[in-house]
């Protein structure tokens, strides 16, 4: 604590390091001296011990979201959980109807799964969020049809950190007897979850955004009233037939342990992280032409998504070589499109190209925040000195009136 670790890691929404306590618990489930058995082995103590460890982990995951342990289905991660929930529910209910509602700012694991269902003959409505990133419940209600069987809305957005009003959406879907799936990959340890109070039917979870290992996730599947889904992976009938495959004890134990820690330390940790986040924003917001993307209040403590107008995001990241952040600018990925999330908020392409996402977490320090503020200010000034757009802005030219040669 209280140190500056270079390079500074401010990309906790991409993934988190595994907590030492979690790593220890996982390592105890690997070697011959450890708990290495197959949890499905019913005939000996190795299997029973592994099964006990899985049971404890299941209880820890269930506890964090207010579920019954029997409602937890292990998967390989949130992407698989999204696929299983959406395809599984859509297919099972295809006779009732083939209409699904989701939001344009969802993760690709949800959007691309919906695209696949469209190819199979389902119809999908992609709602526009409001400018602050939040779903307008009235618009959602208006989109519901006779043949709607599933609504899928994420809890916490991965890019802008805004928190959707899941309870309000759940009340609506429950009253209409429509299944409600929530991608909660970014939520554990950051915002309280209660699947009963929120009327959630299916919820995708993963470990690696909450100081657990990559490669393990879970799908919450409600039992009362019973939610039925079609399996996507067939085999030995594990996980009550919903997801076959030998359970990875060490991964599951890791997820259970990180969710246990999240449950115990969430409140304190969020206060600490929010202080750092506020310090980061306070250090940057007085600069000219700097915009916060997404609602500031309905937002997880660790997320800051900022557009630095007239500076391109990728070159900004190149300047910040000692700081690990991510950009809504497309040049970083293989596609050349800027962030579809920021565009869905109504941000213009320029501001979408000029955005950076800073996400703080458990091991971030105030010293790292102060260092980041200093480096970002320096880099933005340097790049604005290089920017013809900044020149034009300073000369009082309205860039919207310029005839650009799009390419």
């Amino acid at each position: 604590m209280g140190t500056l670790n270079i390079p500074v890691y401010l990309d906790y929404s991409a993934t988190t390091p595994v907590d030492e306590r979690v790593a220890k618990a996982m390592m105890d489930c690997l070697t011959v001296q450890g708990n290495f058995g197959n949890p499905a082995s019913r005939s000996h103590v190795f299997g029973w011990k592994a099964e006990d460890a899985v049971k404890e982990a299941r209880a820890n995951v269930a506890k964090l979201i207010g579920a019954d342990p029997k409602e937890i289905v292990w998967t390989s991660g949130a992407t698989e959980s999204d696929n299983l929930a959406i395809k599984g529910a859509a297919h099972f209910n295809a006779k009732k109807g083939k209409h699904i509602i989701t939001v344009k700012t969802e993760h690709k694991a949800v959007l691309d799964t919906c695209r696949q269902l469209e190819r199979e003959g389902f119809e999908v409505t992609y709602l526009d969020p409001q400018d602050n990133g939040l779903v307008d419940i009235t618009k959602l209600a208006d989109a519901i049809r006779e043949d709607t069987t599933l609504v899928s809305v994420m809890h916490v957005n991965n890019e802008i950190g805004v928190i959707q009003d899941i309870a309000a959406i759940g009340a609506l879907t429950r009253s209409k007897k429509i299944l409600f799936h929530v991608d909660a990959a970014q939520s554990p340890g950051k915002v309280a979850i209660d699947v009963d109070a929120m009327n959630v039917d299916l919820m995708s979870l993963c470990a690696h955004k909450a100081y657990g290992p990559k490669g393990i996730g879970a799908l919450y599947v409600r039992r009362k009233p019973r939610v039925r889904i079609e399996a996507q992976i067939h085999g030995g009938g594990h996980e009550r037939g919903m997801r076959s495959g030998t359970l990875a004890t060490h991964q599951i134990v890791g997820m259970g342990e990180c969710f246990r820690i999240a449950h115990e330390e969430m409140e304190e940790e969020n206060i600490r992280i929010e202080k750092m986040r506020d310090r980061l924003w306070d250090g940057l917001k007085d600069m000219e032409e700097v915009y916060l993307n997404g609602d500031l209040e309905q937002r997880i403590p660790g997320n800051m998504n900022i557009s630095f107008n007239f500076v391109e995001g990728e070159s900004l990241m190149m300047s910040l070589k000692d700081i690990a952040v991510s950009s809504g600018s497309a040049c970083t990925s293989d596609s050349l499109e800027p962030s579809y999330v920021l565009r869905a908020l109504g941000r213009n392409d320029e501001l979408a190209h000029s955005s950076l996402r800073f996400t703080l977490g458990r091991f971030s320090t105030m010293e790292e925040v102060d260092f980041t503020v200093k480096e970002v200010r320096k880099a933005v000034e340097h790049l604005r000195d290089l920017s013809p757009l900044w020149d034009m802005y300073k000369d009082g030219i309205d860039l919207d009136t310029v005839q650009w040669a799009a390419h």
Binding site: E314, S329, C331, L336, P388, H407
Partner: protein
């Protein structure tokens, strides 16, 4: 994405950053790209009485490769006649900076910027010739 050493060098120590007087008769300005596409280059060239480019300045909004491409171009055009500068091809930039395929559009933009700056100065020269005639 890893950048080549040459891209990093031009990015960290950009050559010939700045602005020339766009209204001057011997200055040509080329501005290409669009903010919505994530890159805008402004290249300016100044020619002497013999039609040789004696100075070049740039400002670029864009990724590191776009900044490096335009910085490199200011070095390449200096000392060249307009015809020689017009003959510069984007692949020369790609090779010099070792740009990966996803960044080739940056070199194309730089080539376009040269062409636009040359077109601007030629238009000025034609106008001058007309009014003199």
């Amino acid at each position: 994405m890893a950048y080549s050493d040459k891209v990093i060098d031009h990015y960290e120590n950009p050559r010939n950053v700045g602005k020339l007087d766009a209204d001057s008769a011997n200055v040509g300005t080329g501005m290409v790209g669009a903010p919505a596409c994530g890159d805008v280059m402004r290249l300016q060239i100044q020619v002497d009485d013999n039609g040789v480019i004696e100075d070049a300045k740039f400002k670029t909004y864009g990724c590191g490769s776009a900044i490096a491409s335009s910085s490199l171009v200011t070095e390449m055009v200096k000392g060249k006649t307009l015809d020689e500068a017009a003959a510069i091809k984007n692949m020369e930039i790609v090779e010099e900076l070792a740009l990966p395929p996803v960044k080739i559009h940056c070199s194309v933009l730089a080539e376009d910027a040269i062409a636009a700056a040359i077109a601007d100065i030629r238009a000025k020269q034609d106008k001058k010739a007309e009014s003199a005639a």
